[in-house]
């Protein structure tokens, strides 16, 4: 079933569900006729949509909101923080075309600080599905959970056959290689899995950790990777600051852990817009390009590790 079909089925079975949009119906085109007055389109008014969702939630509803990720999380940020976050209302915020999926829209539409903003709100949880299958697998649990959620909407073609059932706070892990751990979420899983195959052909063993939810996050999987691999790599279509790289940095401090970590993200810049396949190449984010970046970093890290081990063993 698609996201839209699941939402319709759930809403028809549970009158608490209300579907809202700020005139962004791409993912929910068929719902107006099915849901009647429980489909509410407020027009291009993201803040008003979020405030109204709070009012509906005060009356016992579970509003599921749709808007482009950048306008939902930025334009309406203070409404989300103040009207959803402070009272901890069960509102689900679904942001469309996040990260690279804004392809040709340009920087106005690039939601690449959405994870940073949403995870910073107390009580807010974050789901970043890798593709349409993972979105569909995860959405029932998100709707059932009593917390407010931000869903980084992604209904792209399946990146892989997902082998792990969806479980909030638990990553899906591909392989158990101990040279490299590629940690990622959302759309970049597809390229991370390609990178894993390319690295394997070069004799480099790796695991790919598909986080699914960034808050809560699978602390065990990350700390195990830090312990068991030579190099960790974060891959995300997000600003370098505030996203996964920052989350892992915070985790390391909390758990007094240190490990070599290569971040791949947008450092202090937006990405050059264009067709998605060209954007990937231009940004060095195709699986093959990621593999090459990782291979070079691993060589450097192995050299460094050797050097470090000589120092600690008094062989300098």
């Amino acid at each position: 079933m698609t996201y839209e079909e699941i939402l319709a089925e759930r809403a028809l079975a549970d009158e608490r569900l209300v579907v809202m949009t700020a005139e962004n119906r791409a993912a929910i085109r068929n719902l107006p006729g099915k849901l009647g007055d429980r489909f509410i389109d407020v027009g291009i008014a993201e803040a008003t949509m979020v405030g109204a969702a709070a009012g509906l939630a005060l009356r016992g509803r579970i509003p599921v909101l749709h808007a482009l990720a950048t306008f939902l999380t930025l334009r309406a940020f203070e409404f989300i923080r103040t009207d959803i976050g402070i009272p901890n209302l069960p509102v689900k915020l679904v942001g469309g075309v996040p990260g690279l999926l804004s392809d040709g829209n340009g920087p106005t539409h690039q939601a690449i600080e959405d994870i940073s903003l949403m995870r910073g709100i107390p009580n807010m949880k974050v789901f970043a599905p890798a593709d349409a299958h993972e979105l569909a697998a995860g959405i029932p649990a998100i709707l059932d959970d009593a917390s407010p959620w931000y869903v980084r909407f992604n209904a792209t073609a399946p990146a892989t056959d997902h082998h792990e059932p969806f479980d909030i706070g638990r990553a899906e892990i591909f392989g158990d290689g101990d040279d490299v751990a590629i940690i990622t979420y959302g759309f970049m899983l597809r390229e991370a899995l390609v990178a894993r195959d390319v690295l394997a052909a070069e004799g480099i063993s790796s695991r790919v950790i598909n986080l699914r939810t960034l808050k809560p996050i699978d602390v065990g999987a990350i700390l195990a990777a830090a312990d068991e691999t030579i190099l960790m790599v974060t891959v995300e279509d997000h600003f370098l600051s505030g996203g996964l790289y920052s989350i892992i940095g915070e985790l390391f401090l909390k758990h007094r852990t240190m490990a070599p970590l290569l971040p791949i993200a947008f450092a202090e810049r937006w990405f050059t817009p264009g067709r998605l396949d060209e954007v990937l190449v231009n940004e060095g984010l195709t699986g093959a390009q990621l593999a090459e970046t990782i291979r070079l970093e691993l060589i450097s890290e192995r050299t460094g590790s050797f050097h470090a081990s000589r120092i600690t063993s008094g062989m300098v």
């Binding site: 007055d37 429980r38 509410i40 407020v42 027009g43 008014a45 803040a47 008003t48 949509m49 979020v50 405030g51 109204a52 969702a53 709070a54 009012g55 509906l56 939630a57 005060l58 009356r59 016992g60 509803r61 509003p63 203070e78 409404f79 103040t82 009207d83 402070i86 009272p87």
Partner: protein, 287 residues
């Protein structure tokens, strides 16, 4: 219900008692006294006479909802709640204590407070959501949102006005506490609002203008809500900032005041028409 006499002594007395509470909350840390005094009569009328709600029905799905959107006028609400039995009047002495939830902006831990506010431009949209749900469930209750006139600077108010009109929410009522002041400056000297009735009408709201200190005008006007079916209702209530204490009325520098106990006593005497007050208390021009 017996015929309503807007000059009934109990309503006048209720308003006087609420103003006394407001002045007392203006000591030991202070409060936004100007806006609290300007909307006091509106809140006294609404809770004392008009709204379908009581201390026993603050959680009933069939109650009327009142949302204080600007929020910093909350001493008027708490004073009203104390007088009408929503909260123990002794609790008002906890104003600004970390051991209670009574501070400069509403907290919904206090019985009767529907939602927190203080960030301007939020509760019209929250009211839209509540009104939508009431309509979906076929309810007869209504949602009243008290807006500040300075708050009308915020763009989300005008966004919400359009959405409420498009959704034909005739169970939603906006009430502007038109005390003619922004925080520190007259509205017409900073971001002019007039002609305000024409603006609300143009945005699709059935609008009327009343004296926000006249119980008889309130009775006449509120009894006709909604003014039109399928349109939200807007009532512009012309009020006086600091109403009740002439020495602080219509004063740009009496938005937030932290009163000494002597000054509070002087204002209370002035409130009761005994003597004019001459304040020396701390004046906060900008917060």
């Amino acid at each position: 219900m017996p015929p309503f006499n807007p000059d009934e002594p109990w309503l006048r007395q209720l308003a006087l008692s609420v103003r006394e509470h407001i002045i007392r909350m203006g000591t030991d840390g202070g409060c936004f006294i100007g806006a609290s005094l300007s909307c006091a009569d509106l809140l006294v009328y609404l809770y004392g006479r008009h709204l379908t709600i009581s201390p026993e029905t603050t959680a009933s799905p069939d109650r009327d909802y009142l949302l204080l959107s600007k929020g910093h006028d909350v001493p008027a609400l708490y004073g009203t709640f104390a007088e009408l039995g929503y909260i123990d009047p002794a609790r008002l002495a906890n104003h600004l204590s970390v051991r209670d939830s009574i501070y400069w902006h509403p907290n919904r831990n206090i019985p009767g407070v529907e939602f927190h506010s203080g960030s301007l431009g939020h509760l019209l949209s929250v009211g839209i959501g509540i009104a939508l749900d009431i309509r979906m469930r076929g309810g007869k209750n209504r949602v009243y949102v008290i807006l500040g006139d300075g708050e009308l600077n915020e763009g989300t108010i005008w966004e919400g006005l359009q959405v409420a009109s498009a959704l034909k929410l005739d169970n939603l009522i906006g009430i502007v506490d038109r005390n003619e002041f922004q925080a520190n400056i007259r509205t017409e000297e900073l971001i002019p609002l007039e002609p305000l009735e024409a603006k609300f009408e143009a945005f699709g709201w059935a609008t009327e203008r009343i004296d926000g200190h006249s119980f008889s005008e309130m009775e006449e006007t509120f009894s006709r809500i909604p003014f039109e079916t399928s349109r939200p209702t807007m009532i512009i209530a012309d009020t006086i900032r600091g109403k009740g204490c002439p020495s602080i009325e219509r004063r740009a520098d009496r938005w937030f005041v932290n009163l000494t106990s002597n000054d509070a006593d002087a204002l209370l005497r002035e409130l009761h028409g005994q003597a004019a007050a001459d304040l020396e208390s701390e004046i906060l021009m900008v917060r």
